[in-house]
């Protein structure tokens, strides 16, 4: 057990955390602004991965997949919001949850029909293969790339929310949708766009994860649970909370892998249970929309 090994595991944990942050962000954005728990989240992550695969195989380039898949699936997300979820506003808050759960079911089966039930390998793009020496150990370049993309997304989100007019409207709309309507803001269109953005980020996570995990129709199953864990730990609707929680969980899993690899997944859920004991609303939980 050298310091170098621990440092490597910590770093691994950060990289793992980056994916978890990505996974939780899409969920948190949609929940934070719309008050909807998107149970199709894992399925959309998986669909994003497949979309990336499809675009990459059509164009021969991973980069096109990375760029276009989120846009395509984000647009698909907007269709979902417009036709399946909008009719549910004003009804019980459980209804969008139930609907998206059914949707997830349908999406997984649709992918099985279109792409088959077997897993499809997705090779790391040539430019990003190999490792780099970080001083305390060697680290896969692709994972560094993923961390980089996640950081970029976080920065973009932060800038978008805090510094733009659109972001101001989004934050105000989350706090009080009624006032927004009175002020003439088209809340319906706002929520449509936000849902699309949330789904696009989720799909981007899927594309990023594709070279690291085998692409198969079931890959979203654990992702949904992971997203929930990170969101519950971080606190619903708190983007900052999602970041902190993602890193925390990533490091916890990584360090556990060092001592008891078979316990790694369990640790994530156990961590959530423990935090719930002391902080029922997560580390940075805030009031839910409408409360």
């Amino acid at each position: 057990m050298t310091v170098g090994l621990i440092a490597m595991q910590l770093f691994s944990g950060l990289a793992l955390g980056a994916i978890l942050i990505m996974v939780a962000l899409g969920l948190s954005i949609i929940f934070g602004m719309l008050g909807i728990v998107n149970f199709a989240h894992g399925a959309l992550f998986m669909v994003g991965a497949y979309a990336g695969l499809y675009v990459a195989s059509l164009t021969g380039s991973f980069w096109w997949g990375l760029l276009l898949a989120p846009l395509l699936i984000g647009a698909f997300g907007m269709l979902i919001e417009r036709f399946l979820i909008r009719p549910l506003y004003g009804r019980s808050p459980d209804d969008p949850l139930l609907l998206t759960f059914g949707l997830g079911y349908v999406l997984v089966e649709a992918v099985r029909i279109l792409f088959g039930t077997e897993g499809i390998p997705f090779s790391t793009p040539a430019e990003l293969r190999g490792v780099v020496n970080l001083g305390f150990g060697v680290f896969p370049i692709y994972r560094l790339f993923v961390v980089g993309v996640v950081v970029a997304v976080l920065v973009l989100l932060w800038v978008g929310l805090e510094k733009t007019k659109f972001g101001l409207i989004v934050r105000a709309g989350a706090a009080d949708p009624t006032i927004m309507r009175v002020l003439g803001v088209d809340i319906d269109r706002l929520w449509l766009v936000i849902f699309g953005i949330g789904v696009a980020i989720t799909a981007l996570g899927g594309v990023l994860a594709a070279p690291m995990r085998n692409i198969n129709p079931e890959m979203g199953t654990l992702v949904l649970a992971e997203a929930f864990v990170v969101t519950v730990i971080g606190g619903m609707g708190s983007l900052g909370g999602a970041v902190v929680a993602g890193l925390l969980v990533g490091v916890a899993i990584s360090m556990t892998s060092l001592f008891a690899p078979e316990m790694a997944t369990i640790v994530m859920f156990a961590l959530m249970a423990v935090i719930l004991l002391v902080r029922p609303n997560g580390l940075y939980g805030r009031a839910l929309p409408g409360q």
Binding site: V37, P87, L88, L97, Y105, I113, I266
Partner: protein, 332 residues
């Protein structure tokens, strides 16, 4: 046999010609359910389907107590179903317990897990509840996956076939499908009677008040958190019982019993049938399992059909089959 007393019929609905029928259905709900269940194996295309309807109907009844009547959407109930099944199986295969002790143990462990999960989940606010219950139940799933020397891991738990139930004076041969069905039916019938009493009790009134308006229920003087926890545990006990029956029926416990997909099944069946109604859960189990049976003959991708139907129900028929029928019957 106790006859449940009908709620007093309001004068305002006297002109409604279905009202007497609805009142009668409500008053005689346990005997009517029994009658339907007795006839089921002869009416359905297969015995296997009938037993599944029994078992999953009970699961849905247990789930409905929490979801339909108390208004709490849990995605973790697979834990109680699976725990009931695994405990029963392990008790028989690892400890050589007899079937009765194994079943009691199964129900007990399910209740205990419900107490723990409920205590953690109920403290969280509103919509978190579904996420927390799902995540906590996955904790149990992955633990079972890892504890493969106990649970059989990915392959599930096997090796605990119970072929005969011995009672003083007679025995039930579980290898005969008909005897097995009616043996399971007796348990389900008792459970239904128990649920009917709960729903008619003062406690039943409180959980409905909580579903209708939690803050007002609290202002009226009810300890809402404690009531929810009790409802959660009762619901867990019932799902656990269904789990024990499943273990006895299949003689194996698949790992998937603990996965949130199974929780999702419960949600779907309950909603399809009619959440918050007495007959809804069985109607939903029957509908879902029949659809699975029929559609899987046409295509291996039957889930996409069932999933789409579920979406349509959420959008247009949220009361489910039975709930919608009841609502239509109330209009003159």
């Amino acid at each position: 046999m106790t006859i449940t007393k009908a709620p007093t019929l309001p004068a305002a609905m006297a002109g409604d010609r279905f009202a007497p029928i609805l009142a009668g259905l409500s008053r005689w709900r346990v005997p009517l359910s029994l009658l339907a269940l007795c006839v089921l194996p002869w009416v359905l295309p297969s015995q296997a389907l009938a037993v599944n309807v029994l078992i999953y109907g009970l699961v849905a009844v247990g789930y409905n107590l929490l979801f339909g009547y108390t208004g709490l959407l849990s995605f973790g109930h697979a834990t109680f179903f699976g725990a009931g099944a695994y405990t029963t199986g392990m008790a028989i295969s690892h400890f050589g317990a007899n079937w009765f002790v194994a079943m009691v143990a199964g129900v007990f462990i399910a209740g205990l897990l419900a107490l723990v999960m409920g205590a953690l989940a109920i403290r969280t606010r509103g919509i978190y509840f579904a996420m927390v219950t799902l995540a906590l139940s996955q904790l149990v799933y992955y633990t079972a996956l890892q504890a493969s020397s106990w649970t059989g891991g990915e392959n599930g738990l096997r090796g605990f076939t119970v072929s005969q139930l011995d009672f003083p004076g007679f025995s039930v041969n579980l290898l005969d499908p008909v005897e097995k069905y009616y043996a399971i039916m007796v348990v389900v019938a008792l459970a239904l009677w128990f649920v009917s009493r709960i729903l008619n009790s003062p406690f039943g009134a409180v959980i409905e008040a909580i579903r209708e308006n939690e803050t007002r229920a609290r202002a009226c003087g009810y300890n809402v958190e404690r009531t929810k926890l009790v409802a959660f545990v009762l619901s867990g006990l019932l799902c656990g019982l269904a789990g024990t029956l499943s273990a006895m029926h299949l003689a194996i416990v698949p790992l998937d019993s603990l996965h949130y997909h199974t929780s999702g099944l419960m949600v779907m069946m309950t909603l399809l049938g009619g959440a918050g109604t007495f007959f809804g859960p069985f109607v939903g189990a029957l509908a879902f399992l029949s659809m699975e049976d029929v559609f899987s003959l046409w295509t291996s991708h039957w889930q996409i059909i069932v999933g789409s139907i579920f979406i349509i129900f959420v959008l247009y028929l949220p009361r489910g089959i039975w709930g919608t029928l009841m609502a239509l019957g109330r209009r003159p």
